[in-house]
C-alpha cells in the first residue's frame, strides 16, 4: 500500500467535506489500510477534542444585557413614531403659540439628533479608514494588485466592486501608485488605492455614495494622520496619510480631476 490518503484528504474526511465520489474512494482505501484508518480516527478524535475544548469562554450575563439594551436604544431612531395627527387646531391663540413653539422645539431636537448621528457616523468612518490604513502598513504585505500602472489597477476591480472610478495618469512629484486592495468600510466594498509620496504611504479609499450621504470637502487630523476627503456625484473619496496636508491635497486634486462629474 503506497498511496496513502493525504493529510488534506483525512481532514476533509473528518470535516465532512469530501464529495460522494471522493468519500467512496476514501472508504475503499480505509477498508484495506490500517495505517490510514488509524490516522482518520486520530484526526476525528482531535476534531472532537477541539470542539469541546474550544468552547471555553462564556459571555457574561451583563454583556448579554448590555447588548440587548444597546440594540433597543440603537433601533429607536429608526422607528417611526406616530405623529399626533389627531390634534386639532383650535381657535385659541395661546394653544396655537404653544403648538408652534412645541413644533419648533421638536424640529430643532430632531435636527440636533440627526446632526449628532451624522457626526458620530463621520467620526466612526474616520476611525475605520485610519485603522485600515494602519493595518495595511502593519501587515507589511504586498497589495492585492501590485502595480504602478493605472491600466492594470483599475481593471483589477472589475466584477469586484459595484461601481467604477478613474485613476490619474499624471501624479504630483515623488508620488507613485503602488497598487490597490479590495477592502470593506462599514461592511461596504471599497477600493483602497495605495500611493507613496516620497517615503510616506497614502491610502485612498473610494466607495459608492449612498443616498443620504454627502461628504463635502474636508481635511482633518486623527491619531497624527491627515485625512482628506471629497465626494463626486457617485463616489465618496477619503485619503489617509502621515504626509503633509499640502502634498495630500495635491494628490486628491489629481484624483478629483479625473472622476466623471
Amino acid at each position: 500500500m503506497t498511496d496513502h490518503l493525504s493529510l488534506t484528504t483525512l481532514n476533509a474526511l473528518v470535516d465532512g467535506e469530501l464529495s460522494a465520489g471522493q468519500l467512496a474512494v476514501a472508504k475503499e482505501h480505509l477498508d484495506a489500510c490500517n495505517a490510514c484508518t488509524s490516522s482518520a480516527l486520530a484526526q476525528s478524535l482531535l476534531k472532537t477534542a477541539m470542539a469541546k475544548s474550544g468552547q471555553r469562554y462564556h459571555a457574561p450575563p451583563e454583556l448579554t444585557d448590555r447588548m440587548k439594551r444597546l440594540l433597543s436604544e440603537q433601533e429607536i431612531p429608526g422607528h417611526r413614531h406616530a405623529v399626533s395627527s389627531g390634534v386639532r387646531l383650535s381657535g385659541w391663540a395661546a394653544a396655537a403659540i404653544i403648538l408652534v413653539l412645541f413644533g419648533g422645539w421638536m424640529f430643532l431636537g430632531r435636527h440636533a439628533l440627526r446632526s449628532n448621528t451624522a457626526s458620530t457616523e463621520n467620526a466612526a468612518l474616520m476611525t475605520e479608514v485610519c485603522d485600515l490604513h494602519i493595518a495595511t502598513l502593519a501587515a507589511n504585505m504586498p497589495p492585492q494588485v501590485l502595480s504602478s500602472d493605472r491600466h492594470t489597477v483599475k481593471p483589477w476591480f472589475q466584477g469586484k466592486l459595484p461601481f467604477s472610478f478613474n485613476l490619474p495618469e499624471n501624479l504630483p512629484d515623488e508620488t507613485k501608485l503602488e497598487g490597490a486592495n479590495l477592502t470593506y468600510v462599514h461592511d461596504r466594498p471599497v477600493a483602497q488605492l495605495l500611493y507613496s509620496v516620497g517615503r510616506h504611504r497614502v491610502s485612498v479609499f473610494l466607495q459608492e455614495k449612498t443616498g443620504e450621504s454627502g461628504t463635502s470637502d474636508f481635511l482633518t487630523h486623527q491619531s497624527g494622520f491627515q485625512i482628506a476627503g471629497f465626494s463626486t456625484r457617485e463616489l465618496e473619496i477619503v485619503a489617509v496619510s502621515d504626509v503633509d496636508s499640502a502634498r495630500l491635497a495635491g494628490l486628491m486634486d489629481m484624483i478629483r480631476r479625473v472622476q466623471v462629474s
Binding site: C36, L46, K52
Partner: protein, 200 residues
C-alpha cells in the same frame, strides 16, 4: 471571483422579515468565545463583540435576507479584530504564509502518510479529554491558525463559509487546518512527554 454574497441591496428600505436582534443575539455566546480566543482577555473580547454588534446593526440594511447571517457577522467580528490593537499586534508578529516552508499548500509533510500511530501519547491525552492540555496547545497556535480551527471545529462551519469569513481561498483554509492540527498534535505530544518525564 465570487464575492459580496450579502451585497448591498439597492432598495435599502425593503422590508426585513427577521429582526437583527432575533438573528444576532443567539450568536452572542459564539461570537464572544471566538473574540476571547483571539483577543485573549475578557475586556477586549467584550469590546470586540460590542463593536461587532454596532457595525452589524449599522450595515444590517445591506444584509441580503436568506444569505448566511452567521458568516456575515463572524466576518465583521474578524475584521473588527484585525483592526483592533490586539489584532494589529498579531499581524505584526505573524507572517503565516512565510512559515509554510515545511509543507506545501496541501499540508502533507507535518506527518508522513499513515505515520500517526494509534497509541501515541497525544492521542491518550485527547482520549482522556484533557481540556487543559488541549487549551494550552490551542493558545500556542498563531491567530490565523487558531481562528480557522475554531471556525471549523467549534463553530462547525464548512470550508466555503470559512473562506468567505477569512477572505482566503478554500485551498488556504485546507492548508491552514492541516497545519493547525499538525501543530496541535505536536504540541500535545511534547506536553505529554514533558508530563511523563516530570512524573518520572
Amino acid at each position: 471571483m465570487t464575492l459580496l454574497p450579502w451585497r448591498r441591496k439597492l432598495h435599502e428600505d425593503a422590508p426585513v422579515a427577521s429582526s437583527f436582534e432575533d438573528l444576532a443575539l443567539p450568536l452572542l455566546p459564539a461570537l464572544y468565545n471566538l473574540a476571547f480566543w483571539l483577543a485573549r482577555n475578557a475586556h477586549d473580547a467584550e469590546d470586540l463583540v460590542q463593536e461587532t454588534f454596532l457595525k452589524a446593526l449599522r450595515g444590517f440594511s445591506g444584509f441580503e435576507e436568506g444569505t448566511n447571517f452567521k458568516a456575515w457577522i463572524f466576518r465583521i467580528l474578524r475584521n473588527t479584530y484585525l483592526t483592533s490593537r490586539s489584532g494589529l499586534a498579531a499581524l505584526r508578529t505573524v507572517a503565516l504564509e512565510d512559515e509554510l516552508g515545511e509543507q506545501g499548500e496541501s499540508g502533507q509533510v507535518i506527518y508522513r502518510e499513515g505515520a500517526i500511530e494509534r497509541q501515541t501519547p497525544e492521542l491518550n491525552l485527547m482520549r482522556l479529554g484533557d481540556r487543559a492540555a488541549i487549551q494550552d496547545a490551542m493558545e500556542k497556535l498563531p491567530p490565523p491558525l487558531l481562528e480557522v480551527v475554531l471556525l471549523c471545529d467549534v463553530e462547525e462551519m464548512k470550508y466555503k463559509e470559512i473562506a468567505t469569513i477569512l477572505e482566503i481561498p478554500i485551498g488556504t483554509v485546507m492548508s491552514r487546518i492541516a497545519r493547525a492540527r499538525g501543530l496541535l498534535r505536536r504540541e500535545l505530544q511534547a506536553n505529554s512527554m514533558f508530563s511523563r518525564d516530570f512524573r518520572a
